[in-house]
Protein backbone atom coordinates (compact mmCIF):
# COMPACT_ATOMS: atom_id res chain seq x y z
CA UNK A 1 0.00 0.00 0.00
CA UNK A 2 2.72 2.47 1.03
CA UNK A 3 4.73 1.39 -1.98
CA UNK A 4 1.81 2.08 -4.26
CA UNK A 5 1.38 5.55 -2.75
CA UNK A 6 5.03 6.27 -3.31
CA UNK A 7 4.80 5.14 -6.92
CA UNK A 8 1.84 7.43 -7.46
CA UNK A 9 3.74 10.27 -5.88
CA UNK A 10 6.69 9.59 -8.12
CA UNK A 11 4.48 9.87 -11.18
CA UNK A 12 2.61 12.93 -9.95
CA UNK A 13 5.84 14.72 -9.10
CA UNK A 14 6.99 14.40 -12.68
CA UNK A 15 3.87 15.83 -14.28
CA UNK A 16 3.94 19.24 -15.86
CA UNK A 17 1.10 20.40 -13.61
CA UNK A 18 2.96 19.53 -10.40
CA UNK A 19 6.14 21.13 -11.64
CA UNK A 20 4.30 24.26 -12.70
CA UNK A 21 2.91 24.66 -9.21
CA UNK A 22 5.85 23.68 -7.03
CA UNK A 23 8.83 24.21 -9.37
CA UNK A 24 10.90 21.52 -7.63
CA UNK A 25 10.66 17.91 -6.54
CA UNK A 26 8.97 16.56 -3.44
CA UNK A 27 10.89 17.80 -0.36
CA UNK A 28 12.64 14.54 0.47
CA UNK A 29 16.18 15.67 -0.29
CA UNK A 30 17.99 18.47 1.50
CA UNK A 31 18.09 20.51 -1.69
CA UNK A 32 14.37 20.28 -2.28
CA UNK A 33 13.69 20.86 1.40
CA UNK A 34 15.51 24.15 1.14
CA UNK A 35 13.80 25.00 -2.13
CA UNK A 36 10.34 24.40 -0.72
CA UNK A 37 11.00 27.03 1.92
CA UNK A 38 12.03 29.58 -0.70
CA UNK A 39 9.39 28.98 -3.29
CA UNK A 40 6.25 28.52 -1.22
CA UNK A 41 4.65 31.78 -0.23
CA UNK A 42 3.34 30.48 3.08
CA UNK A 43 6.36 28.43 4.04
CA UNK A 44 8.77 31.24 3.22
CA UNK A 45 7.63 32.89 6.44
CA UNK A 46 10.15 30.46 7.90
CA UNK A 47 13.90 30.39 7.47
CA UNK A 48 15.38 27.31 5.78
CA UNK A 49 17.19 26.16 8.88
CA UNK A 50 16.53 26.84 12.54
CA UNK A 51 18.58 26.19 15.61
CA UNK A 52 17.86 22.85 17.15
CA UNK A 53 16.69 24.51 20.36
CA UNK A 54 14.07 26.60 18.58
CA UNK A 55 12.13 23.41 18.03
CA UNK A 56 11.78 22.77 21.71
CA UNK A 57 8.07 22.96 22.46
CA UNK A 58 8.92 24.02 25.99
CA UNK A 59 10.38 27.25 24.65
CA UNK A 60 7.51 28.75 22.64
CA UNK A 61 4.78 26.35 23.68
CA UNK A 62 3.66 26.92 20.07
CA UNK A 63 1.70 29.87 21.38
CA UNK A 64 2.41 32.43 18.66
CA UNK A 65 1.72 29.85 15.99
CA UNK A 66 -1.48 28.78 17.71
CA UNK A 67 -2.66 32.39 17.95
CA UNK A 68 -2.13 32.71 14.22
CA UNK A 69 -3.90 29.43 13.62
CA UNK A 70 -6.93 30.59 15.60
CA UNK A 71 -6.94 33.80 13.58
CA UNK A 72 -7.07 31.81 10.32
CA UNK A 73 -9.75 29.55 11.75
CA UNK A 74 -11.78 32.63 12.69
CA UNK A 75 -11.40 34.07 9.21
CA UNK A 76 -12.64 30.85 7.58
CA UNK A 77 -15.58 30.23 9.89
CA UNK A 78 -16.34 33.95 9.90
CA UNK A 79 -16.77 34.05 6.13
CA UNK A 80 -19.28 31.21 6.36
CA UNK A 81 -21.19 33.00 9.11
CA UNK A 82 -21.27 36.19 7.04
CA UNK A 83 -23.25 34.40 4.33
CA UNK A 84 -26.16 34.04 6.72
CA UNK A 85 -25.99 37.17 8.80
CA UNK A 86 -27.44 40.61 8.13
CA UNK A 87 -26.53 43.38 10.58
CA UNK A 88 -30.07 44.66 10.94
CA UNK A 89 -31.48 44.84 14.46
CA UNK A 90 -34.77 43.45 13.17
CA UNK A 91 -33.27 40.25 11.84
CA UNK A 92 -29.76 39.77 13.26
CA UNK A 93 -31.00 37.73 16.19
CA UNK A 94 -33.11 35.49 13.98
CA UNK A 95 -30.24 35.00 11.55
CA UNK A 96 -28.13 33.71 14.40
CA UNK A 97 -30.95 31.49 15.60
CA UNK A 98 -31.37 30.08 12.11
CA UNK A 99 -27.73 29.05 12.18
CA UNK A 100 -28.62 26.74 15.02
CA UNK A 101 -31.87 25.43 13.58
CA UNK A 102 -32.15 25.48 9.79
CA UNK A 103 -28.65 25.82 8.34
CA UNK A 104 -26.54 22.74 7.78
CA UNK A 105 -23.59 22.84 10.16
CA UNK A 106 -24.55 26.40 11.09
CA UNK A 107 -24.37 25.64 14.77
CA UNK A 108 -21.00 23.97 14.34
CA UNK A 109 -19.51 26.89 12.43
CA UNK A 110 -20.80 29.31 15.01
CA UNK A 111 -19.46 27.24 17.88
CA UNK A 112 -16.05 26.86 16.29
CA UNK A 113 -15.97 30.59 15.60
CA UNK A 114 -16.78 31.38 19.21
CA UNK A 115 -14.39 28.87 20.73
CA UNK A 116 -11.61 30.03 18.42
CA UNK A 117 -12.21 33.57 19.58
CA UNK A 118 -11.92 32.60 23.23
CA UNK A 119 -8.86 30.52 22.41
CA UNK A 120 -7.21 33.34 20.48
CA UNK A 121 -7.70 35.84 23.30
CA UNK A 122 -6.30 33.34 25.76
CA UNK A 123 -3.36 32.24 23.64
CA UNK A 124 -2.34 35.79 22.73
CA UNK A 125 -2.01 36.58 26.45
CA UNK A 126 -0.09 33.40 27.03
CA UNK A 127 2.16 34.12 24.04
CA UNK A 128 2.93 37.55 25.44
CA UNK A 129 3.68 36.01 28.81
CA UNK A 130 6.05 33.54 27.17
CA UNK A 131 7.82 36.28 25.23
CA UNK A 132 8.25 38.21 28.45
CA UNK A 133 9.50 35.24 30.43
CA UNK A 134 12.14 34.38 27.85
CA UNK A 135 13.20 38.03 27.61
CA UNK A 136 12.58 37.89 23.87
CA UNK A 137 11.55 41.54 23.78
CA UNK A 138 15.08 42.66 24.46
CA UNK A 139 17.16 44.28 21.71
CA UNK A 140 16.91 43.94 18.78
CA UNK A 141 13.31 42.80 19.18
CA UNK A 142 11.86 45.81 21.03
CA UNK A 143 9.80 46.94 18.09
CA UNK A 144 8.31 43.53 17.48
CA UNK A 145 7.11 43.55 21.06
CA UNK A 146 5.38 46.86 20.32
CA UNK A 147 3.76 45.33 17.24
CA UNK A 148 2.74 42.48 19.52
CA UNK A 149 1.04 44.79 22.00
CA UNK A 150 -0.91 46.34 19.11
CA UNK A 151 -1.95 42.82 18.10
CA UNK A 152 -3.05 42.12 21.65
CA UNK A 153 -5.28 45.19 21.56
CA UNK A 154 -6.74 44.47 18.13
CA UNK A 155 -7.41 40.88 19.20
CA UNK A 156 -9.36 42.06 22.24
CA UNK A 157 -11.30 44.67 20.29
CA UNK A 158 -12.06 42.18 17.52
CA UNK A 159 -13.48 39.79 20.04
CA UNK A 160 -15.45 42.49 21.75
CA UNK A 161 -17.02 43.87 18.55
CA UNK A 162 -18.07 40.35 17.60
CA UNK A 163 -19.80 39.98 20.94
CA UNK A 164 -22.53 42.44 19.90
CA UNK A 165 -23.48 40.79 16.63
CA UNK A 166 -25.87 38.05 17.89
CA UNK A 167 -28.02 40.89 19.21
CA UNK A 168 -29.18 38.97 22.27
CA UNK A 169 -29.31 40.19 25.84
CA UNK A 170 -25.75 39.08 26.54
CA UNK A 171 -24.52 41.08 23.55
CA UNK A 172 -26.47 44.25 24.13
CA UNK A 173 -25.61 44.63 27.77
CA UNK A 174 -21.98 43.62 27.54
CA UNK A 175 -21.50 46.33 24.96
CA UNK A 176 -23.55 48.77 27.00
CA UNK A 177 -21.11 48.29 29.88
CA UNK A 178 -18.28 49.18 27.50
CA UNK A 179 -20.02 52.22 26.05
CA UNK A 180 -20.61 53.55 29.57
CA UNK A 181 -16.86 53.51 29.99
CA UNK A 182 -16.36 55.35 26.72
CA UNK A 183 -18.78 57.97 28.00
CA UNK A 184 -16.48 58.47 30.98
CA UNK A 185 -13.32 59.06 28.97
CA UNK A 186 -11.45 62.09 30.31
CA UNK A 187 -11.76 65.16 28.05
CA UNK A 188 -13.74 63.44 25.27
CA UNK A 189 -16.50 61.68 27.21
CA UNK A 190 -19.70 63.41 28.27
CA UNK A 191 -19.44 62.18 31.86
CA UNK A 192 -15.66 62.01 32.06
CA UNK A 193 -13.36 64.39 33.93
CA UNK A 194 -13.33 67.78 32.15
CA UNK A 195 -15.64 66.42 29.45
CA UNK A 196 -18.56 68.77 30.20
CA UNK A 197 -16.12 71.65 30.68
CA UNK A 198 -14.90 71.06 27.15
CA UNK A 199 -18.41 71.00 25.76
CA UNK A 200 -18.89 67.23 25.47
CA UNK A 201 -22.47 66.03 25.73
CA UNK A 202 -24.16 62.76 24.84
CA UNK A 203 -24.46 63.95 21.25
CA UNK A 204 -20.79 64.66 20.53
CA UNK A 205 -18.65 62.54 22.81
CA UNK A 206 -16.56 59.39 22.62
CA UNK A 207 -19.46 57.02 23.22
CA UNK A 208 -21.42 58.71 20.44
CA UNK A 209 -18.57 58.18 18.03
CA UNK A 210 -18.34 54.53 19.02
CA UNK A 211 -22.05 53.77 18.85
CA UNK A 212 -23.13 56.20 16.16
CA UNK A 213 -25.86 57.30 18.55
CA UNK A 214 -26.67 57.62 22.21
CA UNK A 215 -27.79 54.03 22.73
CA UNK A 216 -26.65 50.65 21.46
CA UNK A 217 -28.93 50.49 18.43
CA UNK A 218 -28.91 50.04 14.66
CA UNK A 219 -25.95 52.34 14.00
CA UNK A 220 -23.93 50.66 16.71
CA UNK A 221 -24.68 47.24 15.25
CA UNK A 222 -23.62 48.36 11.78
CA UNK A 223 -20.45 49.98 13.10
CA UNK A 224 -19.48 46.92 15.10
CA UNK A 225 -20.25 44.69 12.13
CA UNK A 226 -18.04 46.65 9.76
CA UNK A 227 -15.26 46.88 12.34
CA UNK A 228 -15.55 43.20 13.19
CA UNK A 229 -15.78 41.77 9.69
CA UNK A 230 -13.68 44.21 7.72
CA UNK A 231 -11.60 46.90 9.38
CA UNK A 232 -10.16 45.06 12.37
CA UNK A 233 -9.34 41.79 10.58
CA UNK A 234 -7.49 43.78 7.92
CA UNK A 235 -5.58 45.78 10.49
CA UNK A 236 -4.77 42.65 12.46
CA UNK A 237 -3.62 40.79 9.34
CA UNK A 238 -1.42 43.72 8.40
CA UNK A 239 0.23 43.81 11.80
CA UNK A 240 0.64 40.04 11.84
CA UNK A 241 2.48 40.38 8.52
CA UNK A 242 4.78 42.98 10.05
CA UNK A 243 5.17 40.81 13.14
CA UNK A 244 6.26 37.78 11.12
CA UNK A 245 8.50 39.83 8.88
CA UNK A 246 10.26 41.23 11.91
CA UNK A 247 10.71 37.78 13.47
CA UNK A 248 12.60 36.83 10.30
CA UNK A 249 14.60 40.05 10.20
CA UNK A 250 15.43 40.19 13.90
CA UNK A 251 16.13 36.50 14.14
CA UNK A 252 14.47 34.17 16.58
CA UNK A 253 15.58 34.56 20.16
CA UNK A 254 15.49 30.78 20.77
CA UNK A 255 17.72 28.91 23.20
CA UNK A 256 21.37 28.00 22.69
Amino acid sequence: MLKLLEQIRGIVNKTQVFKSIFRHGYPDTDGNRALVMFSNVILHLHPVRVQRGALKIKFTWCLGGLTFFFFIMLAITGVVLMFYYVPDTRRAYNDIRDLGTVIYFGSLFRAVHRWSAHAMVFSVWMHMTRVFMTGSYKPPREFNWVVGVILLVTTLVLSWTGYLLPWDQLALWAVTVGSKMAEATPFIGASGPFGPELGRNSGNDMAFALLGGTVVGQSALLRFYVLHCLALPLITALFIAVHFWRIRKDGFSGPL
Partner: protein, 284 residues
Protein backbone atom coordinates in the same frame (compact mmCIF):
# COMPACT_ATOMS: atom_id res chain seq x y z
CA UNK B 1 25.69 36.94 17.82
CA UNK B 2 26.72 40.50 17.20
CA UNK B 3 23.49 42.11 18.37
CA UNK B 4 24.20 41.01 21.91
CA UNK B 5 27.50 42.79 21.98
CA UNK B 6 26.01 45.98 20.63
CA UNK B 7 23.14 46.20 23.06
CA UNK B 8 25.39 45.64 25.99
CA UNK B 9 27.17 48.81 24.90
CA UNK B 10 24.11 50.88 24.26
CA UNK B 11 22.50 50.03 27.57
CA UNK B 12 25.75 50.20 29.54
CA UNK B 13 25.28 47.48 32.16
CA UNK B 14 27.67 46.92 35.02
CA UNK B 15 31.17 45.83 34.11
CA UNK B 16 30.96 42.31 35.43
CA UNK B 17 27.75 41.57 33.55
CA UNK B 18 29.49 42.78 30.40
CA UNK B 19 32.25 40.28 30.97
CA UNK B 20 29.66 37.59 31.53
CA UNK B 21 27.97 38.61 28.36
CA UNK B 22 31.10 38.35 26.28
CA UNK B 23 31.64 34.86 27.64
CA UNK B 24 28.09 33.93 26.70
CA UNK B 25 28.45 35.48 23.27
CA UNK B 26 31.56 33.48 22.61
CA UNK B 27 29.69 30.31 23.51
CA UNK B 28 26.85 31.25 21.23
CA UNK B 29 28.74 30.67 17.95
CA UNK B 30 26.49 28.35 16.05
CA UNK B 31 27.56 26.08 13.25
CA UNK B 32 25.49 24.09 10.77
CA UNK B 33 25.55 21.08 13.07
CA UNK B 34 23.44 23.04 15.60
CA UNK B 35 20.71 23.76 13.09
CA UNK B 36 18.13 21.58 11.43
CA UNK B 37 16.09 21.94 8.27
CA UNK B 38 12.72 23.58 8.79
CA UNK B 39 11.12 21.10 6.40
CA UNK B 40 10.35 18.58 7.79
CA UNK B 41 11.27 19.34 11.40
CA UNK B 42 9.37 22.53 12.14
CA UNK B 43 6.72 22.24 9.43
CA UNK B 44 5.59 18.87 10.72
CA UNK B 45 5.57 20.13 14.30
CA UNK B 46 3.31 22.96 13.22
CA UNK B 47 1.06 20.60 11.34
CA UNK B 48 0.67 18.41 14.40
CA UNK B 49 -0.02 21.47 16.54
CA UNK B 50 -2.75 22.60 14.15
CA UNK B 51 -4.37 19.18 14.01
CA UNK B 52 -4.45 18.88 17.79
CA UNK B 53 -5.88 22.41 18.07
CA UNK B 54 -8.54 21.64 15.46
CA UNK B 55 -9.52 18.47 17.28
CA UNK B 56 -9.84 20.35 20.56
CA UNK B 57 -11.88 23.14 18.97
CA UNK B 58 -14.24 20.64 17.33
CA UNK B 59 -14.61 18.74 20.58
CA UNK B 60 -15.40 21.88 22.58
CA UNK B 61 -17.82 23.08 19.90
CA UNK B 62 -19.74 19.82 19.93
CA UNK B 63 -19.84 19.61 23.71
CA UNK B 64 -20.67 23.24 24.28
CA UNK B 65 -22.20 25.15 21.35
CA UNK B 66 -22.29 28.93 21.32
CA UNK B 67 -24.95 30.36 23.62
CA UNK B 68 -27.82 32.54 22.44
CA UNK B 69 -29.92 34.27 25.03
CA UNK B 70 -33.14 36.16 24.57
CA UNK B 71 -33.52 38.89 21.99
CA UNK B 72 -31.79 42.10 22.98
CA UNK B 73 -34.13 44.45 24.76
CA UNK B 74 -33.42 47.84 26.24
CA UNK B 75 -36.36 47.39 28.64
CA UNK B 76 -35.02 44.50 30.71
CA UNK B 77 -31.57 44.85 32.18
CA UNK B 78 -30.08 41.49 33.08
CA UNK B 79 -28.68 41.27 36.58
CA UNK B 80 -25.73 41.18 36.72
CA UNK B 81 -24.63 42.55 33.34
CA UNK B 82 -21.26 41.11 32.62
CA UNK B 83 -18.76 42.07 29.95
CA UNK B 84 -16.99 39.24 28.09
CA UNK B 85 -14.64 37.36 30.42
CA UNK B 86 -11.43 38.98 29.15
CA UNK B 87 -12.76 42.40 30.21
CA UNK B 88 -14.16 41.29 33.55
CA UNK B 89 -10.97 42.36 35.32
CA UNK B 90 -11.64 45.92 34.21
CA UNK B 91 -15.31 45.61 35.10
CA UNK B 92 -14.34 44.31 38.54
CA UNK B 93 -12.24 47.45 38.97
CA UNK B 94 -15.47 49.45 38.66
CA UNK B 95 -16.20 48.39 42.23
CA UNK B 96 -13.19 50.36 43.38
CA UNK B 97 -12.73 53.08 40.76
CA UNK B 98 -14.92 55.40 38.74
CA UNK B 99 -15.47 54.38 35.10
CA UNK B 100 -13.07 56.96 33.70
CA UNK B 101 -10.26 55.27 35.64
CA UNK B 102 -11.30 51.63 35.43
CA UNK B 103 -12.47 51.78 31.85
CA UNK B 104 -10.19 54.30 30.19
CA UNK B 105 -7.16 55.55 32.11
CA UNK B 106 -6.02 52.26 33.63
CA UNK B 107 -6.35 50.29 30.35
CA UNK B 108 -4.46 53.06 28.58
CA UNK B 109 -1.74 52.84 31.23
CA UNK B 110 -1.61 49.08 30.80
CA UNK B 111 -1.18 49.36 27.03
CA UNK B 112 1.41 52.13 27.19
CA UNK B 113 3.17 50.39 30.07
CA UNK B 114 3.41 47.16 28.09
CA UNK B 115 4.73 48.98 25.04
CA UNK B 116 7.42 50.65 27.15
CA UNK B 117 8.74 47.45 28.72
CA UNK B 118 11.54 46.82 26.20
CA UNK B 119 12.65 50.44 26.41
CA UNK B 120 12.89 50.66 30.20
CA UNK B 121 14.54 47.30 30.80
CA UNK B 122 18.27 47.73 30.16
CA UNK B 123 19.22 44.32 31.56
CA UNK B 124 20.97 42.42 28.75
CA UNK B 125 20.76 39.11 30.60
CA UNK B 126 17.98 36.60 30.25
CA UNK B 127 17.46 37.07 26.54
CA UNK B 128 16.19 33.99 24.77
CA UNK B 129 15.93 31.67 27.74
CA UNK B 130 13.86 31.28 30.87
CA UNK B 131 15.52 32.65 33.97
CA UNK B 132 14.34 34.20 37.18
CA UNK B 133 17.70 34.67 38.86
CA UNK B 134 19.15 37.03 36.27
CA UNK B 135 16.18 39.40 36.15
CA UNK B 136 14.33 39.24 39.45
CA UNK B 137 12.84 42.72 39.44
CA UNK B 138 11.34 42.61 35.96
CA UNK B 139 9.97 39.12 36.53
CA UNK B 140 8.37 40.07 39.84
CA UNK B 141 7.01 43.34 38.48
CA UNK B 142 5.48 41.78 35.40
CA UNK B 143 4.24 38.79 37.39
CA UNK B 144 2.55 41.12 39.83
CA UNK B 145 0.66 43.00 37.15
CA UNK B 146 -0.28 39.84 35.31
CA UNK B 147 -1.55 38.15 38.48
CA UNK B 148 -3.62 41.20 39.30
CA UNK B 149 -5.19 41.06 35.82
CA UNK B 150 -6.04 37.36 36.04
CA UNK B 151 -7.18 37.37 39.67
CA UNK B 152 -9.63 40.19 38.96
CA UNK B 153 -10.92 38.26 35.95
CA UNK B 154 -11.40 35.11 38.02
CA UNK B 155 -13.29 37.12 40.64
CA UNK B 156 -15.48 38.65 37.96
CA UNK B 157 -16.23 35.31 36.32
CA UNK B 158 -16.77 33.10 39.34
CA UNK B 159 -17.54 35.22 42.38
CA UNK B 160 -19.80 37.99 41.16
CA UNK B 161 -23.55 37.49 41.04
CA UNK B 162 -26.73 39.51 41.45
CA UNK B 163 -26.10 43.23 41.96
CA UNK B 164 -22.40 42.47 41.49
CA UNK B 165 -22.35 41.10 45.05
CA UNK B 166 -19.83 38.50 46.12
CA UNK B 167 -21.21 34.95 45.73
CA UNK B 168 -19.39 31.86 46.86
CA UNK B 169 -19.97 28.81 44.68
CA UNK B 170 -22.26 27.37 47.35
CA UNK B 171 -24.44 30.49 47.65
CA UNK B 172 -27.80 30.41 45.88
CA UNK B 173 -27.21 32.56 42.78
CA UNK B 174 -30.91 33.49 42.56
CA UNK B 175 -31.21 35.11 45.96
CA UNK B 176 -30.07 38.69 46.45
CA UNK B 177 -27.38 39.26 49.04
CA UNK B 178 -28.53 41.54 51.86
CA UNK B 179 -27.53 45.10 51.12
CA UNK B 180 -24.22 45.80 52.83
CA UNK B 181 -24.39 47.73 56.08
CA UNK B 182 -21.06 49.46 55.43
CA UNK B 183 -21.16 53.08 54.45
CA UNK B 184 -18.32 54.15 52.22
CA UNK B 185 -16.79 57.47 53.12
CA UNK B 186 -14.35 59.77 51.34
CA UNK B 187 -10.91 59.87 52.86
CA UNK B 188 -11.10 63.62 53.44
CA UNK B 189 -14.25 63.20 55.53
CA UNK B 190 -12.59 60.45 57.56
CA UNK B 191 -9.65 62.78 58.17
CA UNK B 192 -11.96 65.64 59.07
CA UNK B 193 -13.84 63.54 61.60
CA UNK B 194 -10.92 61.78 63.23
CA UNK B 195 -8.66 64.83 63.37
CA UNK B 196 -11.44 67.28 64.17
CA UNK B 197 -10.64 69.51 61.20
CA UNK B 198 -12.76 72.42 60.12
CA UNK B 199 -15.20 71.79 57.29
CA UNK B 200 -15.04 75.39 56.14
CA UNK B 201 -13.18 75.82 52.82
CA UNK B 202 -9.85 77.58 52.97
CA UNK B 203 -10.24 78.90 49.45
CA UNK B 204 -12.87 78.47 46.80
CA UNK B 205 -11.75 78.05 43.21
CA UNK B 206 -14.91 78.24 41.17
CA UNK B 207 -16.78 75.05 42.06
CA UNK B 208 -13.87 73.74 44.06
CA UNK B 209 -14.08 74.37 47.81
CA UNK B 210 -10.68 73.43 49.17
CA UNK B 211 -10.78 72.30 52.79
CA UNK B 212 -7.89 71.32 55.06
CA UNK B 213 -8.94 67.69 54.81
CA UNK B 214 -8.87 67.98 51.04
CA UNK B 215 -5.38 69.44 51.07
CA UNK B 216 -4.18 66.59 53.26
CA UNK B 217 -5.55 64.03 50.80
CA UNK B 218 -3.67 65.81 48.03
CA UNK B 219 -0.53 65.65 50.14
CA UNK B 220 -1.08 61.96 50.80
CA UNK B 221 -1.70 61.23 47.13
CA UNK B 222 1.30 63.17 45.86
CA UNK B 223 3.33 61.88 48.79
CA UNK B 224 2.59 58.31 47.67
CA UNK B 225 4.25 59.04 44.34
CA UNK B 226 7.02 61.09 45.92
CA UNK B 227 7.97 58.33 48.33
CA UNK B 228 7.75 55.77 45.55
CA UNK B 229 10.14 57.75 43.39
CA UNK B 230 12.56 58.65 46.16
CA UNK B 231 13.02 55.46 48.15
CA UNK B 232 14.63 53.34 45.41
CA UNK B 233 16.58 56.41 44.28
CA UNK B 234 18.20 56.70 47.70
CA UNK B 235 18.49 53.11 48.80
CA UNK B 236 19.09 51.30 45.50
CA UNK B 237 21.62 53.58 43.82
CA UNK B 238 22.81 50.80 41.56
CA UNK B 239 19.33 50.20 40.31
CA UNK B 240 18.92 53.90 39.54
CA UNK B 241 22.27 54.16 37.83
CA UNK B 242 21.63 51.19 35.59
CA UNK B 243 18.36 52.70 34.40
CA UNK B 244 19.40 56.33 34.10
CA UNK B 245 17.23 59.36 34.71
CA UNK B 246 14.63 59.02 31.95
CA UNK B 247 14.16 55.25 32.12
CA UNK B 248 13.98 55.35 35.89
CA UNK B 249 11.27 58.00 36.03
CA UNK B 250 9.15 56.56 33.25
CA UNK B 251 9.36 53.05 34.66
CA UNK B 252 8.70 54.16 38.25
CA UNK B 253 5.66 56.20 37.22
CA UNK B 254 3.98 53.13 35.77
CA UNK B 255 5.22 50.88 38.53
CA UNK B 256 3.93 53.12 41.33
CA UNK B 257 0.62 53.60 39.53
CA UNK B 258 0.29 49.84 39.26
CA UNK B 259 0.96 49.44 42.98
CA UNK B 260 -1.66 52.10 43.63
CA UNK B 261 -4.41 49.87 42.23
CA UNK B 262 -4.28 47.18 44.94
CA UNK B 263 -3.60 49.91 47.53
CA UNK B 264 -6.90 51.57 46.68
CA UNK B 265 -8.63 48.18 46.72
CA UNK B 266 -7.33 47.52 50.23
CA UNK B 267 -8.27 51.00 51.42
CA UNK B 268 -11.80 50.31 50.23
CA UNK B 269 -11.99 46.83 51.72
CA UNK B 270 -10.30 47.51 55.03
CA UNK B 271 -11.16 51.14 55.78
CA UNK B 272 -14.36 51.69 53.77
CA UNK B 273 -12.73 54.53 51.88
CA UNK B 274 -14.83 55.61 48.91
CA UNK B 275 -12.53 58.17 47.29
CA UNK B 276 -8.98 59.01 48.21
CA UNK B 277 -9.12 62.34 46.47
CA UNK B 278 -12.16 64.42 45.59
CA UNK B 279 -12.39 67.39 43.23
CA UNK B 280 -15.46 68.67 41.39
CA UNK B 281 -14.08 67.27 38.12
CA UNK B 282 -12.73 63.90 39.08
CA UNK B 283 -12.59 61.62 42.08
CA UNK B 284 -10.46 58.66 42.89
Amino acid sequence: MSDQASDSLSSSPKKNSLAELIKKTALKKIGPEDTVLVWPNLVYLELICMMVATAILLFLSLVSPAPLEELASADTTPNPTKAPWYFLGLQELLVYFDPWLAGMVLPTFIIIGLILIPYVDPNPLGKGYYTFKERKFSMLGFGFGLSLWWILILIGVFFRGLDWSWYWPWDDPHVHMPAGAVKLIDLQIILQNTLGLSEAPLVTLGRYAVTIGNLITWALFLGFYAVGFTVPFIFFRDFYRRLGFVRYNVMMFFFISMMGVPMKIFLRLLADVKYVLVTPWFKF
